[in-house]
Symmetry: C2
């Protein structure tokens, strides 16, 4: 069973909601400016697994939330995710996204920064039009946290002596909080008195998001561009010290550490990723990072038990496991 | 009387409101992340004339709006303006802002993109916490228009045959609409039944903002960095064809047009602005642009007559004239 088949099966219980989410998202990507429309058409082809929207809708259904605006809330979450993707590709200098040129490659950095801003503002405009202010409130604060996480990451380039805890704090902010917000909104949007369950699902979503980020960082180190569908090795090129490298650094002696630094910094190095595998026991670093992601998913599975058992919770359990098995 | 003295006098009737606005803005710039705090401290020194906040507060007072959250609404408008400044400096590659290194110079482009995103998200977070959703709604749509205007501008680089109307459409979107939103919110925030006056003041603000943008473009062509306090000549370096150049292009013969193109595009040109003055009658282009700004301010003055006469309307009249006289 390929990951995409398994993904389709696991979202089967919310198929109608996902269709409505897709329509709401498409409606937000309509613009009467022809130049922006062309970029948005390109962008639409980046839409991937929509895991954040699926998480929101699955948690919503599992917790008995029947608010009719749920697909729109999920679409707003995906819009914010799209905005972060576009800016991330600028920041990382990534050239390929889902087998296509990134916006910064197909156009340029200027336009990509502005398109990201436009997507953020569309998301906020749509969320302020919703019946309940909870989505605007949670998502505005979530976006702030994402930015702080990304700033910390940008300022922490080439910091090989960062601790795994520091890495996780940043990964939680830049990726985990949006999953957490999706899960919390799934429970709480349009309802009163669900703060406690909402908080627990937020933590579950954060665990999932953090595991997802670790899996993403592993793909950047271990993946092949043709399989992953986006540029690989960009973290190393960009000076980002991700969890596998942090572990490898901690295990290395002083010669090994110098070799790791050289792989990141030597101006003459043409394949930094290959050099890093030679410099240290990166396979072992990857194994340890994968073990940590497994651990987070187990914790998220425990938290899921707060939801009623049944077909939808089963889908959520599969969604958690999917994060670890994904190859793109 | 120096421009800054005259500015202080004209905002005297709203001195208390402006102080409250400044406090609200400072409160939004507090962060517990030390790295972000350092950037925000640097950014705070860019805070300039706060014309948008003054406009909102003056129009509010003149129209009898007594909503107690007005200073916070004005602070949110200034936050959005700060976000656009930070991203603009990235897009323009500007190195100096108010006699200080820009964020992209003092840190780097990555961090500046993220700080701009953070400022946008702070603005939206604060506006979603306001009592009335009008500010969030108007400002989310305004931000979208700003982005579309900036995208059009970015895609229109080196388009010498654009019409003055096309220039104005872009300038209205990237600058005019935020002034328009400030003036409209001044009338309407926290009150019902003020749509008509709000719409008229929005148009007044848009005229003012458009005139301000023309004046800004003139400073980039005619100003000296020491006086203006920010990099000058950056529009030309960045391929932006502003109103004075459009006029000069239309008046030039084919030799003159080739010389204008060379001033923008010749890779060996070390001072594009000086080359442009040699290439065409740019002084005449500047005169015509200044005349257009004057015309817009006269129209805005007419629109102001919808407000009750008195000290505050008089301040607004002076604010309009200030836009034309400013030297920084």
């Amino acid at each position: 069973m390929s990951p995409s088949t398994s993904l389709l099966e696991m979202v089967a219980p919310i198929e109608q909601d996902l269709l409505a989410m897709g329509e709401a998202l498409a409606a937000e990507l309509v613009t009467d400016d022809p130049a922006v429309a062309e970029m948005v058409a390109h962008l639409s082809r980046f839409q991937g697994k929509q895991l954040r929207a699926s998480l929101l809708l699955l948690v919503g259904r599992a917790s008995g939330n029947q608010a009719h605006e749920m697909p729109v809330v999920a679409a707003v979450v995906e819009l914010i995710h799209l905005a972060t993707l576009v800016h991330d590709d600028v920041l990382d200098g990534a050239e390929i996204r889902r087998q296509l040129p990134s916006i910064n490659t197909a156009w340029d950095n200027q336009v990509a920064v502005l398109l990201g801003d436009w997507l953020y503002s569309r998301a906020f405009a749509r969320s302020t039009g919703l019946t309940f202010p909870l989505a605007s409130q949670i998502l505005a604060h979530t976006t702030q946290a994402i930015c702080v996480g990304e700033i910390r990451q940008a300022l922490g380039r080439h910091r090989f002596d960062a601790t795994p805890e520091e890495y996780e704090r940043i990964a939680l902010a830049k990726t985990g909080v949006l999953y957490g917000a999706a899960a919390e909104l799934g429970v709480r949007y349009g309802r009163e008195g669900q703060e406690e369950l909402g908080g627990k699902m937020r933590l579950m979503g954060q665990d999932l998001g953090l595991a997802f980020q670790i899996a993403d960082d592993l793909l950047d180190i271990e993946g092949e561009q043709a399989m992953v569908g986006k540029s690989v090795g960009t973290d190393i090129d960009d000076g980002k010290v991700t969890l596998p490298v942090l572990y490898a650094w901690r295990d290395a002696d002083s010669n090994g550490r110098r070799a790791i630094e050289a792989a990141y910094l030597d101006p003459d190095c043409s394949d930094r990723r290959a050099a890093l595998f030679v410099a240290c026991d990166l396979d072992q670093g990857c194994r340890r990072a994968r073990a940590r992601a497994d651990e987070l998913i187990v914790r998220a599975q425990d938290r899921l038990l707060q939801l009623p058992s049944g077909e939808i919770r089963h889908s959520l359990e599969r969604l958690l496991k999917f994060t670890l098995d994904r190859s793109s």
